[in-house]
Amino acid sequence: MPSIISVTNLSKTYASGFQALKNINLDIREGEIFALLGPNGAGKTTLIGIVCGIVNASTGNIKVDGHDIVTDYRASRSLIGLVPQELTTDAFETVWATASFSRGLFGKRADPAHIEKLLKDLSLWDKRDNMIRTLSGGMKRRVMIAKALSHEPRILFLDEPTAGVDVELRRDMWRLVRSLRESGVTIILTTHYIDEAEEMADRIGVISKGELILVEDKAELMRKLGRKQLTLQLQEKLESIPSALSAYKLELSDNGNELIHTYDAREDRIGIAALLKDLDEAGIRFKDLHTTQSSLEDIFVTLVRDGK
């Protein structure tokens, strides 16, 4: 897949002397949902800010659909919609006016039909004539999304879009993200709800202390790093694990009813076949079994811990 954003050797040192980004290299593929994961202060917002033109890079360069973000900012910025992390809206404008304003600001001819559809999709249509300051936080968040989408961008940045929003909005948001992706929009989001990245993203980048420590297909990441557990429910209680099975990483549950085998998803399956055969030979019978796979959260915690 061709890359729509290409970040090369990007570093950022703030005026305070603090280095927020360290030699970032990243390619975003056209049409994908890319989740940028990282703890607070990792540099996610800084990275987005630089791509969008809000923060100046210290070194390195970025191309958006082949356009340099500095020398050809008009072309690159026209392609991008941004929903920033903070809720910042004009207080006295109406919802309709602010969305129309954004479209004009991004150089698009007025298109009331598009704005109308957008506001309807975001459940803002009833509020179109309300002043923004009269809206709830969740509604304001929707307004910011409407503004970001008002000029039909091909790339959408969502900086912690669901931090502190209610369940309903979160659901709406993910529905919207999916439908945008179907229409070909590339989406880059940051979140610290790992379950969302896991559910939504095609690829995941993990950033910690200004360094991009990993970029991987989500499925690949899960496969590579996911720990799997095989749990066997025994027909008869065991007092201890027979020494014949000491070669395996086995644990016995407290009540002795379950035998738990932990293994890397990378390890080949033969290990399990052998285990089952050895269990059989040791005379251990089981009535049921199931496997569980560790979540991105576990992976993430491990990565950030090991990255230190």
């Binding site: 100046n56 900012y73 910042t88 600001l105 991004f106 150089g107 007025a110």
Partner: protein
């Protein structure tokens, strides 16, 4: 050229004026009328004519300049400061707009308001004192140039300011004194010789003088110098604005 953006920002700023009609238009008109009453009618009735013009009429150009200067600065500085304050500036920074377009739209809107305000004050004054305008073209030219120049100054202040006090301090501590000492209410020739020389270092003298000349054909300094000085201020402001955008000063981290 992103014409849609210029139009959007300009309309946004004009809508803001419409919402704050009280501060933007009505308040300056009222305060200017009060000046007329105090200086023109009460005090002016005891002052003989100034260079062939009644005192009440003589102060009209200066009063208009006074309003234009302060309103251009406060409108333009607030227009750009407020998005910085609330954070909505992110959208402007991430939009495909050039610095030229940003300045054109913000300064254009602020200057438009000032010109309209100037004309409203002029109309108000015409109701109170008999006025004549000898050089209407020049009158409008000075009005527009001054509005644009001081809107640019205001824009610069709005970018420089990182708090509401800073927004107020330059207009209050520098521009207002300069305007009062700039011959709004008197002719420089009324000053003792030493102070006449000092006054020539006050940029506002040139603005007021040129503007007054367009009304009554009389001036403290020649109209050519007034025009040249106005041009110099305009160029200085433009240069500062260009520098701000080239360096990202106080706009980008």
């Amino acid at each position: 050229m992103n014409i849609y953006a210029i139009r959007a920002i300009y309309a946004f700023e004009m809508a803001r004026t419409a919402r704050t009609l009280m501060q933007s238009i009505i308040a300056p008109v009222i305060s200017t009328s009060l000046y007329f009453v105090v200086f023109g009618a009460a005090i002016g009735s005891r002052i003989p004519q100034v260079e062939g013009t009644s005192y009440g009429a003589f102060i009209v150009p200066g009063l208009i300049m006074l309003s234009i200067l302060t309103q251009s600065m406060s409108n333009a500085s607030f227009g750009i400061y407020f998005p910085k304050f609330t954070g909505t500036i992110y959208e402007l920074l991430s939009a495909p707009v050039s610095s030229f377009e940003v300045v054109t739209s913000y300064v254009g809107a602020a200057a438009t308001k000032s010109v309209v305000l100037g004309l409203i004050i002029l109309a108000t004054a015409a109701l109170i004192v008999p006025l004549r305008i000898e050089h209407p073209f020049w009158m409008v030219l000075f009005l527009v140039l001054t509005s644009v120049t001081f809107s640019l100054f205001g824009f610069i202040i709005g970018i420089w300011a990182d708090g509401f006090e800073k927004l107020q301090v330059i207009p209050l501590l520098i521009i207002t004194p300069l305007t009062f000492l700039g011959g709004s209410f008197y002719s420089i020739s009324m000053l003792p010789p030493f102070w006449q020389t000092v006054a020539l270092f006050n940029p506002v003298v040139y603005l007021v003088s040129g503007f007054r000349w367009s009304f009554f054909g009389l001036a403290d300094v020649s109209v050519g110098i007034s025009l040249a000085m106005t041009g110099v201020f305009l160029v200085i402001s433009l240069a500062i604005v260009a520098w701000i955008f080239r360096t990202g000063y106080r706009l980008k981290t």
